[in-house]
Symmetry: C2
Subunit: 764 residues, 2 copies
């Protein structure tokens, strides 16, 4: 085991203590939330139904995923490598997956308890401030847990494995990303299937308002907010945290040596402190808009994070690369490590601010693009859809451009050394993450207040004042949700870009360990393959983009399909129990929750298997260069698609709000019908397909990183084994195709059921 | 000047003769079309209005583009290179642009004369066969002209410039691609703005049928079919032809020497013969569907093309690379040139067949995906939009996968030599093009019969039988249009992949000519940049994809905006002239045509400038490696977006047809309203944004190819000039941003006009 110096060990120990302190803050905040009043009996009953549905879903999901985790755990042992490291990597794969699942579960658990408390608080005098406080504290618990567990995991691995930490961290990051991807996809399908299904039968067919207790899908809709927006989002941000740290530590060791392994942890620990500060000072004052409050909390966290990180760089790092023990061969000519490190962190912080601003501009209710989309509602739904798609494309371009500019800025800082540039990209990611605690806290605000509004509406126990307070809080949540997605995708791109560099390192390392009788032509060929100019590398780029398209298409289809099943069930209940409509019978809420649970768990398998097996098929089938192309294509297309889907959905949502606030005829007008169609199209865009691309990119990068040595071993040098190579590629391709075909067959069955209902007049 | 052998010169002369023969066939077919009866006075009057509008548009467009062509002509002289070659390149840039424009103009000119003749023929006994014959002959004229001019241009350059032909051909291809891009974008905006605008006021607001003479936008709608679907498409396919040939000749010389310069011409000449055969034998027999006829014509052309090309390879090429004078260093171990060449052509032909099949499957009225989209109309417009998007994503993935598989197949044939692989990719493109004559002919069928239907409807002179015949002919056209787009994008990817290789050659050549005092570090760095693993190369990939997104968004926005202007004008006419609605007053058709002309010419500047300046900004700003990444990102994202946009539009169009044929309630039902919204969303997707991506990819590749030596000269070696480099990059970026900002400002002005109309009640 490579040792670390005692100074470094001390610093890492302090960092672990900071992580524990963050978790303590989370526990304290959690106690505060739970201490609040739980409201009327009716409110409590509704909340209990939501809690039960959400727990049932998550438990079933986790049971399903345990199987998957065990398979991956076993597969990780098949990869080449040192036994001790392999055990550590597999164990920490489980730890990462477990942390990710726990954060998701915690977020959901607390949100389903906070919602009723926010609803109850709104009914009391001074309800606005108290409601906002509870919702914010709930977000604080999740934010501090994300930060605390992420930091604890990474610091723990460094303390346990010292210089071998990077290889073990790959497992930790992979576990976190894989679990988060499944929770994002599954939760995303659940929440939007329930939402779209409830709206189609309730609002469109029966003309009853949202959250009307007569709609059998309302409880499922509220459960969905928790399992999708809380559990899925919390797991996703934890994963961003973990993977960015993993990339930074791997690359840091190469560029800076021991200090490179420790400095990213220092920046992230500063982030934890700053997050606590941000959570504690953020509150919605008087009549100010939610965006003002979030901007203030964010600005405080950002400035404090950048300044403290710069101080840490100047205190902790030496002034010349010659005093660092990195393996990338950096010397006295490569600049001042303190300056470049502080600069990279600052670029990350500025990037976060710019993303916040651009996302707000394209999706906010007061800015031109959304007003433009709302205005096109006068010429019908088609122009609403087209203008929203236009806004989505455009915002994707600017967001991608800003991220690209940040990477170029870091590259300039690095003065041309690729190894240094890659580490600095990861450090910029760490800088961006110093603001994530506040972002998570504000994000959780959304589903909690959305749910509080639903509970108040369904219970009928809310005063008119309380209803208005809850509507206002909900509007704050809408803005923060869009911003979080922008930040999440920015961290994903930075982390993926950095991991991409680790992949090259892994390949070079594996090549250097080969048994070679002579320098074979195929090594030269493999290196040529790396060039973007090679046709097979270009094929990799095309396939990487295609995987993102397929993944998005599968997610959107899954929502459409599951929503269809819900429509049939709600219709059946209305038809067979006429008492539901007249209010004398209670709908069977549980049945709809069961359908959502069953369908979303079934549907998440296909995209999940696709993400895990596609890089394996490309890597073993086409080689290491095309696999790099594949990753580049996935990152490039992925960032554009993720932002496009998130922001077009966001602008449609807010265009609907504008019309509902009375513009162009207001509620019930043809313009309103048009924006409702736009919003429904946007639902699976922004809450299912878009957010899932973020973990997707990282899962594929980590898979590539993990298999890189195996690909090199079977394809290059004396021990090359073409039969094994092609066999693995075909197997992986078969898994990917099989999953897609299974999804097609399910679709055919759903279609057949629907025909049956239509022809026989009976539910299938 | 490098000389060619006398045998090669003889072969090229024969090829030039074949090209002239193809043009003679076109002239003969044209005479046959014009000989047909022109119909009633009323039909002739309407046709004259369409002819006039189309000519006015194209003349104004060409006048605008002449300016642009002159500027580019001048800029081409600024690039480094041998004076003689530079003059040839610039002159042939104008020739390529002129040919492209002429083909477009010819297609439009003839289509606006054939439409009325088809309408007239349908009124006569035996009208079905005669109408189909005229429409097919019209397509034949365009198809043979595309093939003839493409071949003539390329053979002419080879005869004039011999071994220097490749550099001159770059100019020829660039001219063709640039003009085609503008014609695609401008025509696409015109046709869809008129179509969407006419539908929004006519069908939606006033409830009058399509092509009703009371709608002031009907003539514009018919003009649009000709300038978009005929002129734009013909120019686009000519450009595919020219650019693929250019890539094949450039790479052929490197891989095969003299024979590599000639063999692609041989394959394409075979394509011309096969196209004439296909056009002459293709006819719709009795009651068979249009797809059966096209499949038969295609199959004949494909098999004949592949077999004759294989024969040509075995007759013309030697059995070993040692007998070829290529510069890529291929030897006896690299296989049999006859086999690999014939194999590559065959792969191209098979690729065309697969694309035909996949596109038919995803957009055809009888296949599952379209039926699925039609079925979702029962749950409203939102599910129609979502399911169509799902189909589009999925079809994009399969199409991209098939193209990727073809490239991999070619790569395997090449046995690992990248130079050979690149040439074979281009040869596969030539193989694909042997079927293009038939495809173009069938494609032109669509707008001609669509227009014939419009003229019959507006004139009121068509019998009921004739109306049915014209409806049937129109339906045939819908299928062929989708297929043509698939083929066009496949050729674009193959051509771009091959050009991509020429770019690497150009860079290597430029580096070898540098004045170097020592091997400088920046050459090593530049070569590292090429690796996909470098963060700036990844930035290039992201920016390449972003350019495609921005271009698509601009095109969709332009249509929405121009359609809005038409809506206001048609409303104004209805309001100010109540006699129009009662049929006592004639609408001012010309005003709407003028608005379409003005707006589409104004709107095409932004995407055009973006396409031309983005590669310059990336190349000079970031370097040669990132520019390669940029191209890869543009190709990868471009193929996916192009197919997604084309096929989702195609499936929506046909889902509408299914409902209009009586499913799910038929015309006037809520399901019909839902599919009409889907179709309107699809209009700018499939006819504006999607098809324009095809020339976009090639324009950007050719720009990269042209500037590569200049980028190398200013950025590497002793004569590097960072100030000039950054200056050029900033200038190009300013042009791109300026264009986008100008477009934004126009949008703001349109919004302001609209507000004015609303508030003051007056047209702006």
């Amino acid at each position: 085991m490579v040792e670390l110096g005692s100074g470094s060990l001390l610093v890492v120990s302090v960092i672990a203590a900071v992580a524990l302190a963050a978790l303590v803050v989370a526990v304290v905040l959690r106690r505060q939330v739970l201490a609040a009043d739980e409201g009327t009996a009716s409110m409590r009953a509704i909340a209990a139904a939501v809690q039960e549905g959400a727990s049932a879903y998550l438990s079933r999901q986790l049971r399903t995923l345990v199987l998957f985790a065990v398979v991956v755990f076993a597969l990780l042992f098949l990869l080449p490598g040192d036994a001790g490291v392999k055990i550590g990597r597999s164990v920490f794969f489980l730890v990462g997956a477990g942390f990710s699942a726990s954060i998701g579960y915690l977020g959901m658990w607390l949100a389903t308890r906070a919602n009723v408390r926010v609803a109850a608080a709104a009914n009391l005098p001074g309800g606005r401030a108290e409601g906002a406080r509870i919702a914010l504290r709930t977000g604080g618990v999740v934010g501090m847990s994300v930060v605390g567990l992420g930091l604890l995991g990474a610091a723990g691995v460094v303390l346990l494995y010292r210089g071998d930490a990077p290889a073990v961290l790959e497992g930790f990051g992979f576990g976190a990303a894989l679990l988060a991807m499944f929770m994002r996809v599954g939760g995303g399908i659940f929440t939007k299937a329930a939402d779209v299904g409830a709206d189609l039968v309730g609002k469109v067919e029966q003309g009853i308002p949202e959250d009307d207790p007569r709609n059998a899908a309302t409880i499922a809709d509220n459960v969905g907010d928790n399992v999708g927006d809380c559990a899925g989002m919390a797991a996703d941000l934890f994963e961003s945290y973990a993977v960015t740290l993993v990339a930074a530590l791997i690359l840091g060791r190469a560029a800076f040596g021991e200090q490179g392994l420790v400095f990213p942890l220092v920046v992230t620990a500063i982030g934890a402190v700053v997050a606590a500060l941000g959570v504690l000072v953020t509150r919605v004052r008087g009549s100010e808009s939610g965006l003002t409050a979030i901007n203030r909390g964010f600005a405080i966290a950002a400035v404090a994070g950048a300044v403290l990180s710069a101080v840490a760089a100047f205190v902790y790092l030496p002034s010349s690369f010659t005093d660092l023990a990195g393996t990338a061969g950096l010397g006295a000519d490569d600049g001042d490590p303190r300056l470049v490190a502080a600069g990279a962190v600052a670029i990350g912080v500025v990037l976060a601010g710019l993303i916040l601003w651009v996302t707000g501009y394209f999706t906010g209710t007061t800015s031109k693009p959304t007003i433009h989309v709302a205005r096109t509602s006068q010429t019908g739904a088609a122009t609403v859809v087209l203008s929203g798609i236009g806004v989505g494309f455009e915002s994707a371009v600017y967001t991608a451009g800003i991220i690209a500019a940040a990477i170029c800025g870091v590259f300039l800082l690095a003065g041309g050394s690729i190894a240094l540039a890659l580490f600095l990209v990861a450090l910029a990611g760490c800088g961006l993450l110093t603001t994530v605690g506040v972002i998570v806290a504000m994000d959780t605000f959304g589903p909690v207040s959305d749910n509080a509004q639903g509970i108040a509406e369904m219970s009928g126990d809310a005063t008119e004042d309380a209803a208005q307070i809850l509507t206002d809080l909900d509007a704050v949540g809408n803005t923060t949700k869009a911003v979080t997605k922008g930040i999440a995708i920015a961290t994903a791109v930075l982390a993926a870009t950095a991991l991409f560099g680790s992949y090259a390192d892994a390949v070079a390392g594996a090549v250097s360990r080969l048994t070679l009788s002579e320098v074979p032509g195929d090594i030269v060929l493999a290196m040529t393959d790396y060039q973007v100019i090679s046709p097979v590398t270009l094929v990799g780029v095309i396939l990487g983009g295609a995987t993102v398209f397929l993944f998005s298409g599968l997610a959107v289809d899954a929502v459409t399909r599951a929503a269809g099943a819900i429509v049939f069930e709600v219709r059946r209940q209305f038809r067979e129990h006429p008492g539901i409509m007249s209010g004398t019978e209670r709908p069977e809420y549980g049945k709809v929750v069961d359908i959502c649970t069953r369908d979303s768990l079934r549907e998440l398998a296909t995209p999940g298997l696709l993400a895990a097996s596609a890089p394996v098929a490309v890597g073993f089938g086409l080689g290491i260069g095309p696999l790099a192309g594949f990753l580049a294509g996935a990152i490039g297309t992925g960032v554009l698609m993720a932002v496009f889907l998130a922001n077009s959905g966001g602008t449609w949502d807010n265009a609907k709000k504008l019309v509902e606030d009375g513009r162009y005829g207001g509620k019930g007008s043809p313009a309103h019908a048009a924006v409702v169609i736009g919003d429904t199209v946007g639902d699976p865009f922004k809450d299912t397909a878009g957010p899932a691309i973020n973990p997707l990119i990282k899962v594929m990068n980590l898979v590539a990183l993990l298999i890189a040595p195996a690909v090199v071993a079977v394809s290059i040098g004396d021990d090359a084994n073409p039969v094994l190579r092609i066999g693995i590629a075909l197997l992986a391709a078969a898994v990917a195709f099989g999953a897609v075909i299974a999804s097609r067959l399910r679709a055919a069955r759903v279609d057949a059921e629907e025909r049956l209902e239509r022809e026989v007049g009976l539910p299938a």
